[in-house]
């Protein structure tokens, strides 16, 4: 396609988008007013299931099916990344080197922050149905917390203290548990991913029925997935090398 034709295609697409965008913006409710149709439906539904954090109620109760879809998207992208970034032919594991200097203060701060970060991650997961946060946010905090070990020292120490198989299984089993919890609702006759667990009392740790359970399951899946994902990037960037004598044919 010539440059002129490409510009024409882009121009047509951009013009169409601009027209539709203008219509969409013109049809939107005004910004920053107190009128909010979805809120008027979502907040009473959340309170009915004794969920203090309405956003969590939407994510894990009212629209839990969407979250299951997101979980599957995360799982597939981790699998795709693992397949793309696996060591290819001609790449070998790098021998452990004692290169790279880490200052003592960095090591100290990393070791001090590791337990704090893990605690914050667990806290965000556990209180997802009460305060802002939840399985996804807490899971990512937990996944990144593990990598403070890399900041604290050498890559090898991270590898030794991070049995990757555990995280692979954690992610797979947690994502599957989400679907199984959904099937429990179906078996009870309320529908897939219906909130069938005892609701408890409002604003207490054990409340909101299945919301905290799904939060914990999601937290485990995201933490496992995040660690497996980052491990692929670390493995490619640091863990493997291509011998310099061989020329890449591609």
């Amino acid at each position: 396609m010539s440059r002129r034709a490409r510009l024409l295609v882009f121009g047509l697409g951009a013009a169409g988008l601009a027209v539709m965008f203008a219509f969409a913006v013109a049809g939107m409710p005004p910004f920053g007013t107190s009128e909010h149709l979805y809120r008027d439906l979502a907040v009473p539904a959340a309170l009915q299931h004794r969920t203090a954090n309405v956003v969590s109620s939407v994510n894990f109760d009212q629209r839990a099916l969407d979250t299951l879809g997101e979980e599957v998207i995360l799982l597939s992208s981790v699998i795709g990344t693992a397949a793309l970034l696996r060591p290819t032919r001609g790449e070998v594991r790098r021998p452990t080197t004692r290169g790279g200097h880490v200052s003592d203060s960095t090591t100290l701060v990393s070791y001090l922050l590791l337990p704090v970060t893990v605690l914050i991650g667990l806290d965000v997961v556990a209180h997802g149905h009460l305060t802002p946060g939840g399985g996804f946010q807490g899971g990512v905090v937990l996944a990144t917390a593990v990598h403070l070990l890399y900041l604290a020292g050498r890559y090898e120490s991270l590898e030794r203290l991070r049995p990757l198989t555990w995280y692979v299984w954690t992610e797979g089993l947690s994502a599957a548990s989400f679907a199984v919890i959904g099937l429990v609702g179906l078996a009870q006759g309320s529908g897939f991913l219906a909130n069938v667990a005892p609701l408890g009392s409002f604003q207490s740790l054990l409340s909101a029925g299945t919301v905290p359970i799904l939060n914990v399951v999601t937290g485990a899946a995201v933490a496992g997935g995040g660690v497996v994902l980052l491990a692929q990037f670390f493995g490619q960037a640091i863990g493997t090398t291509r011998p310099p004598t061989r020329r890449s044919t591609s």
């Binding site: 920053g32 802002p132 996804f136 946010q137 990512v140 990037f233 960037a237």
Partner: protein, 80 residues
């Protein structure tokens, strides 16, 4: 008051986004991207969306810049 906060946060986001775009080197871009992530977090917080702000904070300031850094490191090593 809240309108002023929103305008300030939106302006900071625009400045931060421009800084990411005009940062020449991908390795440096990862750092400005991380700062941009914090500014977006601030905007979401001002717009009363703390759940989204938390997601943005953990993904935008830690996870994505780290993945960019590692990718750049790998590519630079192969071309050296």
């Amino acid at each position: 008051m809240s309108a002023v906060l929103i305008v300030v946060a939106l302006t900071l986001v625009a400045i931060g986004a421009a800084a990411v775009v005009f940062t020449p080197e991908p390795a440096r871009q990862a750092v400005t991207l991380s700062v941009f992530g914090i500014l977006l977090t601030l905007l979401f917080f001002v717009l009363q969306a703390p759940d989204v702000a938390l997601s943005q904070l953990v993904v935008g300031t830690a996870l994505v810049p780290l993945m960019v850094m590692l990718t750049v490191h790998k590519i630079n090593r192969r071309h050296r």
